[in-house]
Symmetry: C2
Subunit: 370 residues, 2 copies
Amino acid sequence: MRIAGVMTGTSFDAIDVALCDIEQKGGRDAVSLFAFTSVPFSEQTQDLLAQSQQANASLEELSDLAFALAREYADAITAVERQHNVHADAIAIHGQTIWHHPPLSTWQIGNGSALSAMLGRTVISDFRSADVALGGQGAPLVPIFDHATICDNRLHRIALNIGGMANVTIMPPSCSLDSLIAFDTGPGNVWIDAGARLTFGKKFDNNGSIAQAGRVITPMLAEMKTLPYFAAEPPKSTGRELFTLKEAQRLITKYSHPSSPLEDVVTTMTELSAWSIADHVMRYAPATQEIIVSGGGSQNSFLMERIALLLEENHSPAQLVVHQHWQEKEAMAFAYLGYLTLMGRPGNVPYVTGASRMAILGSVSRSVVL
Amino acid sequence: MRIAGVMTGTSFDAIDVALCDIEQKGGRDAVSLFAFTSVPFSEQTQDLLAQSQQANASLEELSDLAFALAREYADAITAVERQHNVHADAIAIHGQTIWHHPPLSTWQIGNGSALSAMLGRTVISDFRSADVALGGQGAPLVPIFDHATICDNRLHRIALNIGGMANVTIMPPSCSLDSLIAFDTGPGNVWIDAGARLTFGKKFDNNGSIAQAGRVITPMLAEMKTLPYFAAEPPKSTGRELFTLKEAQRLITKYSHPSSPLEDVVTTMTELSAWSIADHVMRYAPATQEIIVSGGGSQNSFLMERIALLLEENHSPAQLVVHQHWQEKEAMAFAYLGYLTLMGRPGNVPYVTGASRMAILGSVSRSVVL
């Protein structure tokens, strides 16, 4: 089955479309990527998205945004299909998260039925609601994809994604779905980006070049390590509501002296991410042999180096490997989740999300041309 | 197939649940009702719904409302199933319309995927989006149900629903879907209710007893008849945005003299509804023999009498008949629309809605227990 996975992250900048072939091979699901594109949102939709984050978005703005996103998705999918002269059988959209507050509710905006009508194609949408309705966190949902594509028969592996936050899926050899452990380790790029922005006015620390030039501010790192999130036992998940820009600013103001180089702030933030990742690996998966890294953080070679060194210092045998599809992985994961839904198979892992049971995720719209 | 149709109207007061058996009989769909209940919304949800209509509902309120509605629907369905000791195979929900502005967007809030997870049942939701995405009005959607259940082999029939607005589906004998004519004739109860409230402080004119005691204010009726909506050609649709409480108030203030009985206002409003219905029948379906009336207005015997008399005065052969399921019909229609979606059949009638093509409506969530 050929499915387009459509993912848009919390930075509201672009639509990732991953066209995947998904099939069963020897009792296992095989997901292969054959086309990918990342299309920037139109300015109008970016404005609508930014407005939606205001406390007082109107019903009109939100209703129009759901349809506007469908149109943007339709255009992005059509573009990548034309470019590669292919055609997806179905489309799985994550939608744009504008509210996520389990166990009460979650909201990924983007109208699946409208998109289905626009393209005359089957669309799967709203993947997180069922898990939240069952008392789960509605996240993470990628572990079932990690299990299908990264779990090895002989190696102890971890799938590590370093986006705004960092998360791991821990997979002993041939592990079953119900023995998976997956959780957020804490900040990924979020506070590194904050540091780069607040000190150098840069959007992010390209390849870790700022951090590489500085030194760790020891008392600042020590204070950050005391955040209760790090010591808490999984399952656990976090987000920008804990690792806020405001808190980053407070820490920077408190610890950066006028005489010390500005780089030190970014170095310290990078060290926090590296430490929290390595520490969780040591605590929960000391036997890990390979860590397959995806997300923007996999391209920060200084961060990667620091994680590797911290593991080595702790006698971990784990090697870091950049995922072949470090950029495409999340969109591929949603293509796979859409496939599972169409096959009538569950997509959530209750032990990981905290849901009371497995569930077939999402809603399927089949407004095909008749 | 046993499907629960769940309908909630614009008055935010109750959830109508119609449990229907739907099957094909001799090439035609047969829909039979075997249980119905109307459950009042909880006060909390009514408050949330009222807040959602404010310009500035927060993302949190709207996200929570979508899940709260799912919970209310789940409770209502469970209640009617226990009461009648039955079990629906699937549930079709209309959701609560909080924004409807074709061709840009439409929004029926109420999370189908969450409801599916809560009940472990297949849920069909969001019936209007596909039609709007195809350039249609997303309404009316009931005509395909009228066609299946009311169209006769020999008789010229009209299905007339008198809710807040009044609408007709015109069906010559054995008519095909693409020869259906359906549109809103104008106000149903909306201005009668407004009159009853503004003059007597009553929610509605029970059985037309107020109107029956008064006389038509001729210049007021004459002014109202000049509203361009009445002369416009179908397809056309209207709502409370045209027939506002404010405009009703203006007309009442202008035409009711301190010396004349207050009843006259309600009589005049009733006459406007009766005239606009009868006039459209004469203009677009003079051969009509039977008018099958549903909705709250079918229980206003004075209104029904006036429609019948106006038709008779114009030599129409049409007889008014109250629909066997005058109260349950809308919820039954959505059970049928859900059935069509599950069967992979379209639910919209493009000539009626203005959509560019037929479409399988809605989204299907199958978060069943595995």
